[in-house]
């Protein structure tokens, strides 16, 4: 791999130990993926924020990074943590978990990372531009910015994204190279167009194509639709980039001759739905995977307005970012009648296992991870059908 003189000096330790370690990691990852050189990035988004997912090893790693003087050099945001930093008691979080979680947030803050803790930074805190090279972790967010915005990132892991944030550079391979952003398969999609149908479409496509780059025809998603579809495809498959005819900025750049076409319609959506649903009875309904947008907050609040929660045994959580919660005081008031509007966190990265066994969600992404990361049985429906459980 070609390194500039300055990069070689960092690798030799002349800029301090934490930069050296960061460079070693970027070079090692670049090597295994065949990078020719490094590329400057304009922003980073980091995963590895919940104490539940990174554990004591991760906490110690962050402590050592801070002790070594690590500071990010590009705007960097952070993924959701394991709890709402103020309302964790309402989530049945233990004080010892809360203490370690708050330490983790504090450590990221010391490295200069914005600790807004959301999986949707592209809705406000961290918005790349078309053509920007970035280093993003969080599969749903990086797929959104690759596809809908046309920024360029690979699927970074937590430490890799942090190393890139420290250096302001990442290894130049994979989706940083235009040649590798070509679609591999055409998806001829037929859906009714609700947000939930986009979630099921993402699930079905991920199941059908794994990690390939799809080119969609026949859909015209809003930002919210694209948000949920990105999340679903990244979770059921490993899709990090997609194109949509007439919608996404790079869609017109490619020759589609010779590509296989896959039709996704009712039959495939029903299969996807069947795969995600394992129970009809839930103890928790959790909305906001990815975090609720202002429009979703308005839609949910207007649906709930004037209704009463009758089933007291089922808890409801609404998960969003602190920024959106602040922007929507009227909606929050209505929603709080049903359950807490939580910021910084979500049902997947919170330690809900041991508290709940069966969870309802409208998100295919959550539907994929709740069984494995949280030991939950899952009910995956659209919001109105989920709310039938408690009305």
């Amino acid at each position: 791999m070609y390194l500039t003189r300055e990069e070689e000096e960092i690798l030799a330790g002349e800029e301090g130990e934490s930069s050296q370690k960061a460079m070693e990691l970027i070079v090692a990852l670049g090597k295994i993926y065949g990078a020719d050189d490094l590329v400057d990035i304009t922003s980073a988004h980091l995963s590895g924020a919940s104490y539940k997912t990174i554990g004591d090893g991760g906490l110690k790693y962050l402590e050592d990074m801070v002790r070594g003087g690590a500071v990010v050099s590009v705007p960097s945001t952070l993924n959701p943590i394991g709890m709402d930093r103020e309302r964790w008691k309402e989530m049945h979080i233990t004080p010892s978990f809360a203490e370690k979680q708050l330490m983790i947030i504090d450590l990221y803050g010391k490295m200069g990372v914005r600790t807004t803790c959301s999986c949707t930074p592209y809705l406000g805190e961290n918005v790349p531009s078309l053509g920007d090279h970035v280093a993003w972790a969080e599969s749903s967010a990086l797929s959104f910015v690759n596809s809908y915005i046309g920024a360029k990132t690979n699927r970074e892991g937590g430490p890799g994204a942090l190393a890139a944030a420290i250096l302001g550079k990442t290894a130049n391979y994979g989706l940083h190279i235009d040649e590798n952003r070509k679609p591999a398969v055409i998806i001829d999609a037929e859906i009714e167009g609700s947000v939930f149908s986009y979630s099921m479409l993402g699930q079905a496509v991920g199941m059908a194509i794994g990690g390939k780059i799809p080119y969609f025809r026949g859909i015209d998603p809003t930002v919210d639709d694209a948000k949920t579809m990105s999340a679903a495809m990244a979770a059921s498959g490993a899709v990090a980039l997609y194109h949509i005819e007439g919608v996404t900025p790079e869609a017109g750049n490619f020759d589609l001759n010779g590509l296989e076409t896959i039709h996704i319609g009712n039959k495939e959506l029903e299969e996807a739905y069947g795969k995600l649903n394992t129970t009809d009875d839930v103890q928790l309904i959790a909305l906001g995977c990815p975090h609720l947008s202002p429009k979703e907050m308005r839609d949910i609040a207007s649906f709930l307005k004037g209704k009463k929660k009758r089933n007291k045994d089922t808890e409801i959580w609404f998960c969003t970012s602190a920024r959106v919660r602040e922007e929507c005081p009227e909606e929050v008031k209505i929603m709080e009648e049903f359950g807490p509007v939580l910021a910084d966190t979500c049902m997947v990265v919170a330690p809900i296992e041991g508290v709940f066994e069966r969870t309802g969600t409208n998100s295919a992404k959550a539907g994929n991870y709740l069984p494995t990361l949280c030991s939950q049985e899952v009910m995956c429906r659209d919001v109105s059908k989920l709310m039938d459980v408690v009305m």
Binding site: E24, A28, G55
Partner: protein, 258 residues
Amino acid sequence: MIKGRAISSGKAEGKVLKLDGTFSFLGGVNASTGDLNVREGNIAGKVFVFPGGKGSTVGSFVMYDLMVHGKAPAAIINESAETIVTTGAVISSIPMVDRIDMNVLKEGDDVIVDGDTGTIEIKGTKSVKVVSSAILRDGKILILQRPGNAKSFPGRKSLVAGKIETGEIPEAAAAREIMEETAISVSAPDSVLSPVFVREDDIIWEVHPFLFKVDDADPVLNKENVGFEWISPDKIADDPSVVPLTHRVVNEMIMGLK
């Protein structure tokens, strides 16, 4: 000395603990003791050998946790490095090398791993450079039957193989061995691979593979072999008496044909 690829810097020595399957540090090992959950054994201070990583990305932090507890492996050898183990090895300062064929390492071997040069040294073994040539005629490969008293791989079947003499270039050694053992004359090779390494007890054979296409040659054997057959490349794997890696090497060379 066996050449692989440098992944994580540093040099360390230890006894090999080897797993045959891909490994997830999350769930696969106790981070405070180094005890494996997938089988008996403890990886602390060992040269930990496995084909590659799998599973949750949290595995990188489990490796860091092992290091904090003083229970990290001394070094890691993989066949093919992926993100999780690479990340864990670098952040935890564990020397790591990949692109090493697992078959050259045995449980309990004393090994030095150099993560800067990407090499490993298996103590108590000797490296011997040999050539191994596939003769391709009408889509079939010439396989020789070695006698029961052969010095290496007795009674087994192999390509046309032999030692590279001191000062000899591998390509010349290949042509010489083919002439000696089969009386077939070849010119430039049609396909070549980087050396592969095969373990036979305390000897590591550094095998330089070649492929030569011939039109109508018939082998005339000398005393080094007792029989021959022409077999289809995709059938090599079906015969357990053929020496290790032959199937893979032949098929990679056929794919590399112009």
